[in-house]
């Protein structure tokens, strides 16, 4: 009975693939199937349907991911997919009896997208959705790599991928650079202030020396052009009255 079932399944798969490759909605193909297998087909079709219980939709974008190197999606690729799902279930929950044939695919479109469901032969029902979800999430990386795709191009709808957080060093880099620049600037300021103070001390020392020398020859030339030299030392200098603008308040037009 089980061998008949497997053979029936295989035949159904083959026939379904033919249907999909030729186009949508080919009811006549289904009608042409052997009636002996129709019972088996119906049961499996009930298990694997768009929106069925514990079924998930998968979407692949091969051309977007791989461009010219995109492979065609055929039954061999589907076989690999079934194998990866079976592997995930086996490693996640310890259901050792899961075989590749327990993973059912249906409604393969040109997109490429399809629905899959996992059955458990020992319990004769589908593996619950939560388990399938957990299994896929755990092994998502390996499934992606098997198909040379990534999270965006191999999508399991309703199974969110765990995104890898970016690595952050223990001290943020900006703090390091900030501290370096800060220290350099502080050092520069301190150097300039210190050298400024030193310069001023030197100047005041030099000017006291000069005034000592001046005291000795004070009676010498202190007047030049009628202007006493001391006044020229004042900070603002002397304004030359000839050039002053005068007290004009308002100038007539």
């Amino acid at each position: 009975m089980s061998s008949l079932r497997t053979k029936g399944k295989e035949m159904r798969d083959i026939y379904l693939n033919e249907i999909i490759l030729k186009g949508f909605y080919s009811d006549r193909m289904l009608v042409a199937l052997l009636p002996a297998l129709s019972l088996v087909t119906v049961i499996h079709a009930q298990l694997c349907q768009p929106g069925a219980k514990d079924a998930f939709k998968v979407r692949l974008s091969l051309k977007t991911a791989l461009g010219d190197k995109a492979y065609t999606w055929n039954e061999n690729e589907e076989y690999l997919f079934k194998a990866m799902v079976a592997f995930s279930i086996r490693t996640f929950s310890s259901r050792e009896k899961i075989e590749i044939s327990n993973v059912l695919l249906c409604n393969v479109t040109k997109r490429v997208s399809f629905w899959f469901v996992v059955t458990d032969p020992s319990e004769n029902q589908t593996v619950p959705a939560g388990e399938v979800q957990g299994a896929i999430r755990m092994n998502r990386n390996r499934i992606n790599n098997a198909f040379i795709l990534n999270d965006q191009t191999l999508e399991f709808l309703e199974i969110p991928a765990t995104l890898g957080p970016p690595t952050e060093p223990s001290t943020p880099i900006w703090v390091i650079i900030f501290s370096v620049v800060f220290c350099l600037v502080i050092v520069g300021i301190v150097l300039l202030i210190v050298s400024g103070i030193r310069q001023r001390r030197r100047k005041s020392k030099a000017s006291t020396e000069m005034t000592d020398v001046e005291d000795k020859c004070e009676t010498m030339v202190t007047i030049e052009n009628g202007i006493p030299c001391d006044t020229l030392d004042s900070k603002e200098g002397r304004t030359n009255r000839a050039f002053a603008a005068g007290d004009e308040k308002l100038t007539p037009l």
């Binding site: 040109k110 995104l163 600037v185 300021i189 400024g196 001023r200 020398v213 100038t251």
Partner: protein, 618 residues
């Protein structure tokens, strides 16, 4: 020894301007005197390129709202307003041979307030301007990571998808609004001081202090670096920008004039204020600067050369800006199209790669007709992608430099290098402008005897930096960016217009246009021709009065002033009204600089009456 000292003094009195200082900006209080200290201050570049590189660049990086076709208002405003007013200020400085306050005092003692208003405006400017440098430092320090932190969104708490706010906005907007500013939803919610921003602000002020510490001699040397380095970086960016995919779209957008925008007076106002800002009109720096020129200097030629250099630098910078903007817009447009293609492919299970941008439209029509129910379900999600609308998304103000450029940079190869280059250039420009502003505040303080006799100039500079930094910490709060926008929009614009208006009227009608003309002929040997005279006497004042009227009517019509607030739940900017206290602050800002002019005039009038009364009674 004494004779040598005297000879030195006489030599100093007649020293030529070529030995003198590159004062980056105003010294309104400086009276040109015969004292040695007043003259020997360092070295001075003959070509007057002092503040123009720094200010003339910010405007294309900044004010983008005019969008394409800004060239026409800009060039017209330059020829009609910029050049004549620049000539006027240079001529005034050269003729009066005094700083800003002294020069206006000479023309009429009632007009001393004009110089004081310039100092007040410079003070406000320096308070808020350094925050931009703080942000530039922040981005610069974050540019040394791989990948750049603004290139991808952070994950949400259960690691299944990206952070919600980041998904709704973009990763660069998220980095700016959340990571950098940590902005609050409105100006009322103040929040606390962000310590990271506060640290960057303190660092920025320390750098400024380092440059102005020794006074204006050290400033002159720094200005050489801060003025020349951005040119190098800009050339590198020009080559990179023009080779980017989609740069042509940006350039085409820049050069096509838009009639409806030319009809909008706001465009002309923006162009006028940008000309004033980038040429440095109304700050008093030009007058002080020109006062060091020789009397026979041909200031007309100077004015034309300076404004041409300034505007060509601006146009050069905007070519770079628009080519990068075109790249960003094209990238976003192509992303948008790809998203629509993906949506249609997934909904209708079409073959992957079947839909291309070429056949998208016809396929959409076919699908709409063939499967109307499913199409109508997804119809709200199908966005109409348009390159024009991407180019039109005008981002104003500081957001432009930080959001648009970072978005473009993250898509380039070797993005860390471009990011570092860009923010170093931004820092150079910002620090150069800050040096000018602080020099405008410091020179009156260091020249006045009461303060400088008690404190050394390092202490005065330190005090000014400390006070400005303390006030600037307000801008590092969560609502700080809203206060920044207030200062940015209102601190300088109206006051500058008023100052320039009063200057033109003072020269033409108070001092006398004929007298001014004769002075210029005596000084330089050539009379200003009819073009300049007409513009000084009629066109400029009328234009500025027109701008004022527009501002007022705009305010009265709108009823209240509004601002753009970031809404984290929506991931975009929303418009809100200013609360009353914010309006009061705006009023105070505008009033404190503009009221200087009438108040000082009134004060002088009262003093004169009192003096007359005294002399009469005596």
């Amino acid at each position: 020894m004494l004779i040598r000292k005297i000879k030195l003094q006489i030599k100093n009195i007649s020293v030529t301007p070529s030995n003198q200082l590159a004062r980056a900006s105003a010294n309104p209080f400086l009276v040109r005197s015969a004292g040695p200290q007043g003259l020997c201050r360092g070295h001075f570049p003959r070509k007057p390129c002092w503040s123009c590189p720094c200010r003339s660049w910010f405007w294309p990086l900044y004010h983008f709202s005019a969008g394409g076709g800004f060239l026409i208002p800009y060039i017209i405003m330059l020829v009609v307003e910029g050049m004549p007013l620049l000539y006027l200020e240079l001529a005034v400085g050269q003729r009066m041979r005094q700083g800003s306050i002294g020069a206006w005092n000479t023309i009429s003692p009632y007009l001393r307030g004009v110089g004081i208003a310039s100092v007040v405006v410079s003070f406000f400017l320096s308070m808020y301007y350094n925050v931009i440098n703080a942000w530039a430092f922040w981005y610069l320090f974050h540019s040394f990571q791989d990948p750049l932190p603004w290139s991808s969104c952070p994950l949400n708490s259960n690691l299944t998808s990206y952070d919600e706010e980041c998904e709704k906005a973009s990763s660069t907007q998220y980095f700016w609004y959340r990571k950098t500013l940590n902005i609050s939803p409105s100006i009322e919610e103040n929040g606390g001081i962000q310590w990271e921003q506060a640290l960057c602000l303190i660092l920025a002020w320390l750098v400024v202090y380092l440059c102005i510490l020794r006074g204006t001699e050290s400033t002159g040397k720094v200005v050489y670096v801060t003025a020349s380095l951005p040119y190098c970086v800009l050339i590198i960016y020009l080559v990179r920008g023009l080779t980017l995919h989609g740069a042509i779209n940006g350039l085409a957008y820049m050069f096509t004039p838009k009639i409806e925008q030319l009809a909008n007076p706001q465009t002309w106002i923006n162009a006028a204020t940008q000309i004033f800002f980038s040429l440095g009109l109304g700050f008093g720096s030009l007058i002080a600067f020109a006062s060091y020129n020789e009397p026979s200097n041909n200031c007309q030629k100077h004015a034309i050369i300076v404004s041409l250099i300034n505007s060509s630098t601006s146009i050069f910078a905007s070519i770079v800006t628009f080519s990068i903007y075109g790249f960003k817009a094209t990238f976003n447009y192509e992303n948008c199209i790809n998203k629509v293609i993906l949506l249609l492919t997934n909904t209708f299970d079409l073959e992957d790669g079947f839909l291309t941008p070429g056949n998208l439209e016809e396929t959409k029509d076919y699908l709409a007709s063939a499967y109307p129910t499913e199409y109508s379900k997804i119809f709200p999600d199908i966005k109409n992608c348009s390159l024009e609308s991407e180019l039109d998304t005008a981002v104003q103000g500081t957001g432009l430099s930080f959001i648009v450029y970072t978005e473009a940079i993250k898509n380039m190869e070797v993005s860390q290098l471009w990011s570092v280059l860009y923010f170093v250039m931004l820092l150079m420009l910002g620090i150069g402008s800050m040096l000018g502003n602080t020099a405008a505040i410091l020179t009156p303080l260091t020249d006045s005897n009461t303060i400088s006799s008690r404190l050394p100039k390092e202490a005065i500079s330190g005090l000014v930096c400390l006070i400005s930094c303390a006030i600037g910490l307000v801008f590092t709060m969560e609502a700080g960016n809203y206060w920044f926008d207030i200062f940015n929009d209102y601190a300088a614009t109206l006051s500058l217009l008023l100052i320039v208006l009063v200057e033109t009227i003072a020269i033409c009608y108070v001092y006398g246009l004929k007298r001014f003309e004769n002075d210029l002929q005596v000084m330089t040997g050539c009379k200003p021709n009819w073009y300049w005279k007409i513009i000084w006497a009629f066109v400029s004042p009328l234009l500025i009065i027109g701008l004022f009227i527009f501002y007022l009517t705009d305010y009265i019509l709108k009823g209240t002033l509004q601002y753009q607030a970031w809404d984290a739940t929506q991931g975009q900017l929303v418009t809100r009204d200013y609360p009353n206290y914010a309006l009061a602050v705006i009023g105070l800002l505008v009033a404190s600089s503009t009221m200087c002019i009438p108040l000082v005039a009134l004060g002088t009038f009262i003093m004169n009456r009192w003096k007359k009364g005294k002399t009469v009674s005596v």
